[in-house]
């Protein structure tokens, strides 16, 4: 008896949960309303079957409960009843399948006027490539991928030169224009999932996968990876901004083409040294830093990272938070070197400065820290040397007091919380694995033992990245 009541109660709870649940489909932002319709149809059909069969079962349990004076009905089969049930089930299945296949047929056939955009996944970032004025994406080859050519675009294909490469994980799409997304992966499997678009697809190394949508709502949508791709899977975030045509064109025009990136001149180190005069007062003549002034050592800092941070200080993604008093000091100086050539030369100069040895100021258990660092090392390198491929700067040879403050800032959202800090959210999620002060001290103690900054570093080509 109790079980029959339980079945009925669970059915009621199931239906109520379905109706009252705040966890429903995200607001639709693409043309795939038909997918939502098939989902709703499936809810109706399966919901009715679920209720009907279970209610019948509950009724049977009550109606035919044990009675020692009664016998069950001996009835090996009832062909007619079974035939009816098979027929009805087949009909129900067909009612679900047919619309599904019709919509699928639309999903697999992109309209002829769809424009093309390429999305490339990498552990644990997103890249975008737009075809430029010729409307054609240049040839690409995974063998051509390097830090300077992150998408492996073939410079020998004339169609490549006007391609626009976006190395930040925020892509733009024009509203109301059908787009065919060509997906590639540099390394492992990933999956392009924007819940609001409904359609998703894996990114598979060694092949190009595709799907098409028409974005219908202006707005910014989370792009997440939906295929387990390693330690950083959960932090592989990006976003897609759907904008009006004019905003789209303006954004594209602000981005350098593949050709422009490749024809950039080599940086002028002498000029860089002159610009460095602005930095000496705080960071020291050898880039050794000064803890009294809260200025970290910067000698040998990767040029791509320096440029990214300078830009963040300028656009408010860093140093603008009320609780970031030391960051605020940096803002005017970033403004002084805003000119792209100045910034390029300065960053190159800092990069070639030999890293200094820093004193350790944080005490912790390095052995315990080593375990925690396994996660950090996935992006920052096993020796803390930093990996351009994962957009993760060097940690070895950085001041531990500075790292500690930054980690605390990431944890509290003082750093990485700004919508233009596209790499910050990842580090915010990651910084949370340090569940207490001890964990942070231990990992910093371990980082202090790392020697990645002493490795002979072949200076990467300076052109090629616009982050």
């Amino acid at each position: 008896m109790a079980i029959a009541i339980a079945v009925v109660v669970l059915l009621v709870a199931t239906v109520l949960f379905h109706i009252l649940s705040p966890w429903q489909l995200t607001p639709l932002a693409s043309n795939w309303g038909a997918i939502d319709a098939t989902i709703n149809l499936t809810f109706w059909v399966t919901g009715l079957v679920l209720i009907a069969v279970n209610l019948f079962m509950a009724w049977c349990i009550v109606r035919y409960r044990y009675n020692k004076d009664r016998r069950a009905r001996y009835e090996p089969e009832d062909k007619k009843l079974e035939a009816w049930l098979i027929g009805l089930s087949t009909l129900g299945i067909a009612a679900l399948l047919a619309p599904g296949l019709v919509v699928w047929n639309e999903i697999v056939h992109a309209p002829d006027d769809a424009h093309e955009v390429e999305v490339v996944g990498s552990q644990w970032h997103w890249y975008f490539r737009y075809p430029g004025e010729d409307g054609t994406l240049g040839r690409s080859d995974p063998r051509l991928i390097s830090d300077a050519n992150p998408l492996g675009v073939d410079p020998n294909d004339p169609a490549s030169w006007d391609d626009i490469i976006v190395a930040t994980p925020r892509g733009y799409l024009p509203v109301d224009r059908p787009v065919r997304l060509n997906l590639r992966s540099r390394d492992v499997l990933h999956n392009f999932m924007v819940a609001n678009f409904r359609v998703k697809m894996d990114l598979v190394p060694g092949q190009v996968t595709r799907f098409w949508i028409t974005p219908t709502q202006v707005g910014e949508y989370d792009l997440v990876c939906a295929q387990l791709c390693g330690i950083g899977h959960f932090a592989m975030r990006g976003s897609i901004r759907v904008v009006e045509d004019e905003a789209y064109d303006a954004w594209l025009a602000s981005k350098p083409t593949f050709g422009e990136l490749h024809s950039r001149e080599a940086p002028d180190l002498a000029a860089g040294q002159r610009h460095y005069a602005n930095c000496i007062a705080c960071h020291g003549a050898d880039g050794q830093g000064n803890q009294m002034l809260n200025s970290p050592a910067i000698a040998g800092m990767e040029a791509w990272y320096t440029k990214r941070q300078l830009e963040y200080f300028r656009n408010g993604a860093r140093g603008a938070h009320a609780d970031d008093e030391h960051g605020r000091q940096m803002v005017p100086f970033a403004g002084i070197v805003a000119d792209p050539t100045t910034e390029r030369d300065l960053a190159a100069y800092i990069e070639q400065m030999p890293p200094v040895s820093v004193a350790s100021t944080v005490e912790g258990n390095a052995q315990r820290g080593a375990r925690i660092y396994r996660t950090c090392g996935a992006c920052h390198g096993r020796d803390g040397q930093g990996l351009h491929g994962t957009n993760a700067p060097r940690l070895a040879g950085l001041d531990d007091w500075y790292q500690k403050r930054q980690l605390e800032h990431f944890q509290s959202g003082v750093r990485g919380g700004h919508s233009d800090d596209l790499y910050g959210p990842q580090m915010r999620d990651m910084s949370k694995i340090l569940v207490n002060d001890d964990a942070m001290r231990n990992v910093l103690a371990y980082i202090n033992t790392l020697t990645g900054h002493e490795q002979s570093r072949a200076l990467p080509e300076l052109a090629g990245r616009n982050n």
Partner: protein
Amino acid sequence: MAELGHDATSYAPPREQPEMELPHSHSFWTTYVFSQDAKTIAIQYSVTAISVGLLAMVLSLMIRLQLGFPNNFSLIDPSNYLQYVTMHGMIMVVYLLTALFLGGFGNYFIPLMIGARDMAFPWLNMLSFWFYFVSVLVLMASFFVPGGPTGAGWTLYPPQLISEGTPGIHGGVLVMMISLGIFIAGFTMGGLNYIVTILQYRTRGMTLMRMPLTIWGIFLATMLALLAFPALLVAALMVLLDHLAGTSFFMPAMFSMGEQLPHEGGSPLLFQHLFWFFGHPEVYIVALPAFGVVSDILATHARRNIFGYRMMVWALVAIGGLSFVVWAHHMYVSGMNPYFGFLFATTTLIIAVPTAIKVYNWVLTLWHGNIRLELPMLFAIGFIFTFINGGMSGLFLGNVTVDVPLADTYFVVGHFHMVMAVAPVMTIYAAIYHWYPKITGRMLHEGMGKVHFWVTFLGTYALFYPMHYLGLAGVPRRYFAYGESSPFIGESVETLNAFITVAAIIVAAAQLLFIYNLIRSRKHGKEAGPNPWNATTLEWQTEHTPPTHGNFGKELPVVYRWPYDYSVPGAKYDFIPQNVPPEEVEMADEGAVRT
């Protein structure tokens, strides 16, 4: 049923066996450790499988703790989170469910239910268990190799399986593949044995269409496993070659962690096809025995014949056959040729028809039954409820268009835990409560069993049903944490995750009560007698309880009827065992019972 009359088969083994030829064990070692008695081997399989399953349950709690209360546990970081996810899945699917249903239930029930003295090849049977045991030990070793077990997910997809950025790419992967290899070798020995035994060792009168559905389920599942596991073995071997010998079966040219890898030309999709060619039938390797077991338990406790036996057998055959042509529904968004979607959505939804028939026939067995709500029956009803729910969400995921937004989200996690975790586990419990009296001679404690049932039934529903809605809202799976960086995953998700975790902890605690009940009742349970449920199948008709080595003593039973002669009109009792000849059926006094 007239058409199921006595029909002695000519190939059956001799009915009588001289006492001296019965197998006898002589020492502790050959009785309890290197035993060749299928029943002992069954218990060895079951105890090993349940033990390793408990470990996998602990791993699932680690996963849930992190998801429910993120960033509180210094022992759980993104690496070992993925390692727990991987080991939990692999252990539960292969080392618990497959081993328990086929190695455990198969060994115990096949000889007893078909009226055989033992398996066709007892020594091979023993070897099969020890291979399984070693494969479990090797798997456990992966927790102790440098870098720990692989964290690539139980689906083991390359390239991530063997490239930097995934935990356990060195020792862990190697150990996992070796363990799977040993498991498959061991299973092949056992599986061939089950098939030969069922085909050749049935007693006189036990025609195929008089076999209990439990045996049909195990028989067909074994066939599936023998055909499916080689695909996994091949895939595992090839991926190991890619890893260790630098071949490129599955590895294309890649730029990983700032470096070009020396691979070229391999196809990650090829692995997925091989994996799911195994992986989908694997679902039915677990489900078909569960279907069979539940059918027999329903019939016994509803005191009614299973409704539509013939249709039930053919549905099992159809599901088994179709299960080999639906695998790519796991790959709708994998980047395979999208035209496959049409084919695989169609085959997948077709498989829903025979599955629906099974559900109808279970419920129709209750209809006009005389239902005794004993513990096995409660679990069987719990199975039906859970399985219907899981089947319904399967209709979402099998239909390619509907699957696309839901793939790789918590909807999938909710679905397969309903249909592949809770449903079979409900069956396992139903079976243990049902057959424990035969295996030990004692009943399990009823009160503890009820607590166990209610907590498990309600708890697992509270645990897995809401997950579907997380998936609907687009929450992706296999995430260590959801953080604040994705506004579309709102704070309410955190609340729900905490609720699910609490439910999981309560459910897990109830399983410990069950284990205690198992151990306690072995000595202190109520005496069961030979046939406490008044069941018809042969295992309840043995001379001894528990049955001795050789099962039936000197004389094998002869079968005269199908296994579902419950409440036969006119008979004195509401069940007639399979080995009762028509002339010995006791008839009731006129008008003594009403139907």
